[in-house]
Symmetry: C2
């Protein structure tokens, strides 16, 4: 049974606070072993990567080949059935279009003091994309991570993907080909992240590393943060659905389960103002779980982390949602705009009864890599900005340095930095 | 003697590569002690903070007071001499204006398929600002960190600043008052960062933590990254000056020393195409060092980390600068625009002979918190974006979900996620 809360109950605040504070992230401490792997790859390069690939992935890179070449990626794409290929291409087109509009504009203007000020954006030279092997290897994830890099203008996008026992995933390769990935390396784990960050004999180092992975991969990225840029610290994902009683309970149940089927640590929460509707959704969830191929995972997630919260009116749900700062927020109501205007913290919002979160996972256009675990309080979804950086600039002439320079000299002196003051003062007399 | 390189020499590439790869960052491993401090503050709150403040800062918070109240901050501001007050206010105005123009625009449009897509930016609720005690306590740094938060729209900005033996820095308090800091806590070190991140009985937790600090502070921020947002991993700062022989060598020498006087680990590098000019600058540096109050620090920095690089022509310097990806880049030439167009990686660029980097430290307008240690390859200076986050949104109606939904169903099925497929498929027939 998932948690069932009623905002009118006396103990509600304590129970809801416990729901907000519940940590679903594993506290497995892999920092020491990851630190060793990073140091070893940094020191021994390819040899350190190859040994771990043999051990963990069960194949010899010298035999299977370090890279999956362009021909193999094209063959994977050509081998797709046409319906699936059309679907991936529609998704890629929509994601590309949405992200192209994210490209920031440069600034350059001269102010009243005669000082020219501005900022210029540029793409990083190279980026690395981690793609998990096994269950979590999703072509949609390849598109969502690779396309923003390419739209940003990254010249070289190197993907790493473990191929346990040498086996590759054709869907992932096809998505990489559509997204314009430049290199695909048959490696994974912390050793692959280290190879991307430090570079090895074969693999040139990159500037930014993105993409989902297991605890070792996440810890490797965290330890390398600062040496390279990384996307974010990701945790188990979640959905909050705010729904009135006029919805079809089957639709809402399917939405809750679409999150629950990802992982036992996923979380699905329904807010509604209609107790009878809440019961109908709970029944529909139970019924749908019986027919779902992913039932085992979804059942565990729903039982351990699911919740139904009854509120007096739906507007009262929004401040509660803000405390959860959910990755995904569905507003399944007649007038979603009114509620959306009050939302402060959410990774992505899905407006109205006909916008299931899952459509955004694939073909909506906005990125599906979103802040989890309450991080929408301060973090944003993946975007072209993660693959770009901004260079500010300033230009004074003889007159404008005289206008603003004396204040700089006064501050430099007050801060005890005389060379700062001198470098400005010397220009004031000219 | 600083390093002297000539790009025409046979061994240049190896020498320059060594300069690029030289690590000036201390490798002091404080991660274990910081981990203990964080855990202790998380568990014991104020008591853990007060004990460490007594031990490291030498005062009892119950007696000195946990906060520096508004009246004390106003008194510090009122006590400034008017020239300094005017200077701080000019700096604040210019920084505020520059950062106001950084505020990103929301997006909201409906595409040809009838899908409404967009993104909405909002400020984080609260931010924490670390301000060091002692030598590195600069009012300019308070302005540069606090104003972007306030411009972004952060409601609550809490500053922490250690006050060794209880002593406060009036310049820092005055800057905090001008910048609109909401709370000032008399604490520092990793314990202050922990208090901001986790919250204690007295101190409410924040969403983002910014500001410079020592190794313990930097490590605390790194360990808390992901629980809160942080600004960046900062290292020793650097300047690269590209100058032709028509410059006044005294000006260029002062610019090099303005970086060198910060810290022995700072780095100042001159690129020029004029060997005689290089000699004149080296002589001027020597001469100026003799009269500088910060001579000890500046001399060590210049000798240990300084460099003069002779190039055939200045355009050839730019790809070399890109490899250094310097925090600050001065283009002291007649036509800086032509060189700037070729620059790919730099935190901030100062154009022309009348734009010393130091003017940007104080009153230029762009932020002086910039990526160091080659991080300009992938990172940007502090901006309002560090205090904001983006919520994407999507809205389909019955017609548009029919247009794009089938592709989502196909992909969900291919990825083995049937509840995803069902949540979309249920809406297609309606």
């Amino acid at each position: 049974m998932p948690l069932r809360l009623d905002a009118a109950d006396a103990g509600f605040e304590a129970d809801f606070a416990a729901l907000v504070d519940a940590r679903r992230e594993a506290d497995e401490d892999v920092s020491t072993v990851v630190r060793e792997i990073l140091a070893d790859v940094r020191k021994r390069g390819d040899a350190a990567v190859a040994e771990r690939t043999a051990k963990f992935d069960g194949h010899d890179l010298e035999k299977t080949g370090w890279q999956i070449d362009r021909a193999a990626r094209k063959a994977a794409l050509d081998g797709l059935d046409s319906k699936l290929r059309d679907a991936i291409e529609l998704a890629a087109d929509r994601i590309r279009t949405y992200h192209a509009a994210q490209k920031p504009e440069d600034r350059d203007h001269t102010d009243a003091a005669g000082v020219r000020l501005g900022a210029r954006w540029s793409a990083v030279d190279s980026a690395g994309l981690y793609v998990p092997g096994g269950r979590a290897a999703y072509p949609s994830s390849v598109l969502m991570n690779a396309l923003p890099a390419k739209v940003a203008g990254v010249d070289r996008l190197a993907m790493v993907v473990p191929t346990p026992k040498g086996e590759t995933n054709p869907l992932v390769l096809a998505a990489a080909e559509i997204a314009g990935v430049d290199e695909v390396w048959r490696i994974g784990g912390a050793q692959a992240v280290a190879a991307l960050a430090y570079g090895t004999e074969r693999i040139a180092g990159v500037d930014v590393i993105v993409g989902p992975g297991n605890a070792w991969v996440a810890e490797a990225k965290r330890q390398l943060y600062g040496r390279v840029g990384i996307d974010m610290v990701a945790g188990p994902s979640e959905i909050v659905v705010v729904a009135d009683g006029d919805n079809d309970p089957e639709w809402i149940a399917a939405d809750l389960l679409s999150q629950a089927e990802h992982d036992p640590t996923s979380q699905s929460i329904l807010f509604t103002d209609d107790a009878a509707f809440a019961d109908r959704v709970a029944d529909a969830v139970k019924r749908q779980l019986g027919t779902l191929a992913t039932s085992a995972v979804a059942t565990q997630s729903w039982q351990d982390n699911g919740a139904i919260v009854l509120v007096r009116d739906l507007a009262a749900a929004i401040p509660l949602c803000d405390r959860l700062a959910p990755e995904h927020l569905e507003l399944a109501v007649a007038d979603p705009e009114a509620l959306f205007a009050r939302v402060r913290h959410a990774g992505s919002v899905f407006l109205g009864r006909h916008t299931p979160e899952a459509v955004g996972d694939y073909v909506g256009g906005p990125n599906h890599v979103l802040p989890t675990g309450r991080r929408a309080r301060f973090a944003s979804g993946l975007s072209v900005l993660d693959f770009m950086k901004r260079t500010s600039f300033l230009a004074c002439d003889a007159a404008s340095i005289r206008a603003i320079g004396p204040a700089a000299v006064a501050l430099a002196e007050a801060e005890g930095l005389p060379a700062h003051g001198r470098s400005v003062a010397l220009r004031l007399g000219s």
